[in-house]
């Protein structure tokens, strides 16, 4: 923030702090399957929060607080800035990685997942986008509708998307998550291994429960 305000050069990790940007999102005006305006919204939220946290830090020190005191008074805002920066980084890496996938079938479903991710995360952080009018409530509704559309579109691929992680039943160690789907028979079989089932009558019955019933 300091370097950005002083016009110094910034590394690619934080270049978005000085990147020219629109005042309002174009999220509902994107051509089909182009979610670049979504990524710009992540940048907007991160940039705004970083600069706001920075300005608040300066304001606290100008009121006579020491650097450490001002930092502590501003820590929640600073953490929010760090989170938004990181969520931007994750979104960018997801976006870049999906666009390198060659197999058309995989790429198509990964794009659906990516678009779901971008909508879901931006809806989750909408506060930062609505606050200064960067995003309108209509655009927020547009993202919600797009998210619901993507849920329906992804639904038939749901099981195959988890199958693709290729976990064996041994690795997963989950009766509920068995690859063959035969959950209920195995749930009963698993319960039979319980130590409490080694005898029909537990010692606690003779020791405590039976005397209680006779009291």
């Amino acid at each position: 923030a300091n370097a950005a305000q002083s016009g110094e050069g910034l590394s690619s990790l934080v270049h978005y702090l000085v990147k020219p940007h629109e005042k309002h999102s174009l999220i509902d005006k994107e051509p089909n399957n182009d979610y670049s305006a979504h990524l710009l919204a992540f940048e907007w939220a991160a940039r705004r929060q970083v600069m706001k946290a920075y300005e608040r830090l300066l304001s606290l020190t100008s009121r006579g607080l020491s650097g450490e005191e001002a930092w502590n008074e501003n820590a929640v805002e600073l953490n929010r800035a760090a989170r938004l920066h990181t969520r931007l980084y994750i979104a960018q890496k997801f976006y870049d990685s999906v666009h390198t996938v060659v197999d058309a079938g995989c790429r198509a479903v990964l794009e659906d997942l990516l678009h779901l991710h971008l909508n879901y995360e931006l809806i989750d952080m909408a506060y930062y986008l609505l606050e200064d009018g960067y995003l309108s409530s209509q655009q927020l509704d547009h993202m919600k509708e797009d998210m619901y559309r993507l849920l329906v579109k992804l639904r038939p691929n749901a099981v195959s998307l988890v199958d693709s992680w290729d976990y064996s039943d041994r690795e997963l160690r989950s009766v509920l998550g068995r690859k063959d789907g035969h959950v209920y028979e195995h749930l009963y079989k698993w319960a039979q291994d319980s130590q409490l089932n080694r005898t029909q009558v537990l010692p606690s019955f003779e020791k405590y429960l039976k005397p209680m019933m006779k009291e």
């Binding site: 590394s11 479903v109 991710h117 998307l161 199958d163 290729d166 160690r173 509920l176």
Partner: protein
């Protein structure tokens, strides 16, 4: 199962192709399957019964049995111990995620020695690599976690004997939490404040023998033991450790970067962050591991949601799969998207780490700090969101998700351990914030 078969018929993509995308290549996907098959063929690598029914002692013993059997069988299994990814997958198959006595030896002890030993200290790497010694990494103290500056353990140099005297001056200075420190390890890389002629040079790494190699009894001047049961990861003996004026030779300070000469003169490391290499290494791998934890829980939740039927959407049409409810889709699919996002991000950051690591070895440390900061943010955000994802997966399984039969309890417990180990998340965010304010 007809419901699962129906689900698999509906897919619009090839799951083998996708597995190759997830695991980096078709070759490695096949390799994973080979390892899975070999483990299946060897009953001595299996659990005698579900880990969920084991007491802690049974779990620790079972993990030790499987870990040592697995190591002895590496040749037979055709697994090269130098192939990190193969060993990682083999370990997940055989041991699972609740830990084992050599867990920290492989992921913290050896990488730290590799990153911090000078040329004349390479024998430590050989000893560790050949498992002649068992080690861990002991940094955190009972009263001091992430804040390295406030560690209390001291290593005071005595030029007369050319030794460091390790000492724990207070109860809060006791090392507390390091995995495998309590009962398994006989050596540890210990982080202590270097003191020469009364001057404190800050935290440095020292290799310290904790237990006799024959009897496994603690060395004189060492107090060591297990800290007790935890939320999860109970097959690992997280430990406590304190020193009572315990002496180690000068060359037991890891001197690749900072050095202390026999006369006590000190040479600074080229960059303040090089001592953090072990942490940076672990955080790099944590991102993909967290993606895997989320994917474990979501695999269970999505599959179960495809066979569990409840309620009717259209009267008379029969009970529907719970995965057909919008709320269930909204609960699971965005979390699944996150698991994929974290996996891709983890892979991207691993490749940055590999490049930076090579640069650091050549003395070029420019990108190390930037990597350290973004990993701090990633570690905090990803562990937190993974915890959320696993909890959503658990609840989406209804009551059965609460049963240990789902194994989600262990996945959750192990994954959210990541919110506090390797740096508590609030502190991690503050570290990234510092960088952002400067930028």
């Amino acid at each position: 199962h007809p419901d699962m078969a129906e689900e698999r018929r509906k897919a619009t993509f090839d799951t083998d192709e996708m597995a190759a995308v997830i695991w980096g290549s078709k070759k490695y996907m096949m390799r994973r399957r080979e390892i899975t098959k070999k483990v299946e063929e060897h009953p001595e690598l299996h659990d005698p019964y579900s880990q969920a029914f084991m007491t802690r002692e049974e779990g620790v013993e079972n993990a030790a049995r499987k870990a040592t059997t697995m190591i002895r069988m590496l040749d037979e299994l055709g697994v090269d111990p130098l192939q990190f990814e193969d060993v990682f997958h083999l370990t997940n198959e055989v041991i699972g995620i609740a830990g084992h006595p050599l867990a920290l030896h492989a992921v913290m002890f050896i990488p730290t020695l590799q990153a911090q030993c000078s040329d004349e200290q390479q024998h430590w790497i050989d000893l560790a690599y050949n498992r002649r010694i068992i080690g861990t990494y002991a940094q955190t103290e009972m009263g001091h976690g992430t804040n390295l500056k406030k560690l209390e353990t001291t290593a005071t140099y005595d030029p007369k004997t050319q030794e460091f005297v390790l000492h724990s001056p207070t109860r809060t200075s006791m090392k507390w939490w390091p995995g495998n420190l309590g009962k398994s390890s006989n050596h540890a890389v210990v982080v202590a404040n270097l003191v020469i002629n009364g001057e404190n040079y800050g935290p440095h790494n020292f290799i310290v023998q904790l237990r006799d190699l024959e009897t496994h009894q603690p060395m004189k001047g060492i107090t060591v033991g297990d800290i007790g049961p935890k939320l999860a990861y109970n097959d690992t003996d997280n430990g406590f450790l304190s020193f009572d004026h315990y002496r180690i030779p000068r060359l037991n300070m890891l001197m690749k970067h900072a050095r202390v000469a026999p006369d006590g003169s000190y040479t600074r490391p080229p960059h303040a962050k090089v001592g953090y290499s072990a942490m940076v290494y672990v955080r790099t791998h944590m991102i993909t591991h967290q993606a895997m934890f989320a994917a474990y829980a979501l695999t269970t939740a999505v599959r179960y949601s495809a066979v569990r039927r409840q309620g009717e959407i259209k009267p008379g049409c029969g009970e529907v799969k719970i995965l057909d409810y919008q709320t269930q889709q909204h609960r699971l699919l965005p979390q699944l998207a996150r698991a994929y996002a974290f996996m891709f991000t983890g892979r991207a950051v691993k490749s940055v780490h590999a490049r930076v690591d090579k640069d650091v070895a050549k003395g070029k440390v420019d990108e190390m700090a930037e990597l350290h900061y973004i990993l701090s943010g990633l570690k905090a955000v990803v562990t937190h969101l993974t915890g959320e994802a696993i909890e959503q997966a658990r609840m989406s399984c209804g009551g059965h998700g609460y049963s240990k039969a789902s194994n989600i309890f262990e996945i959750y417990g192990v994954a959210i351990g990541g919110c506090t180990y390797e740096g508590e998340n609030m502190v991690m965010l503050q570290q990234l914030a510092k960088y952002l304010m400067r930028a």
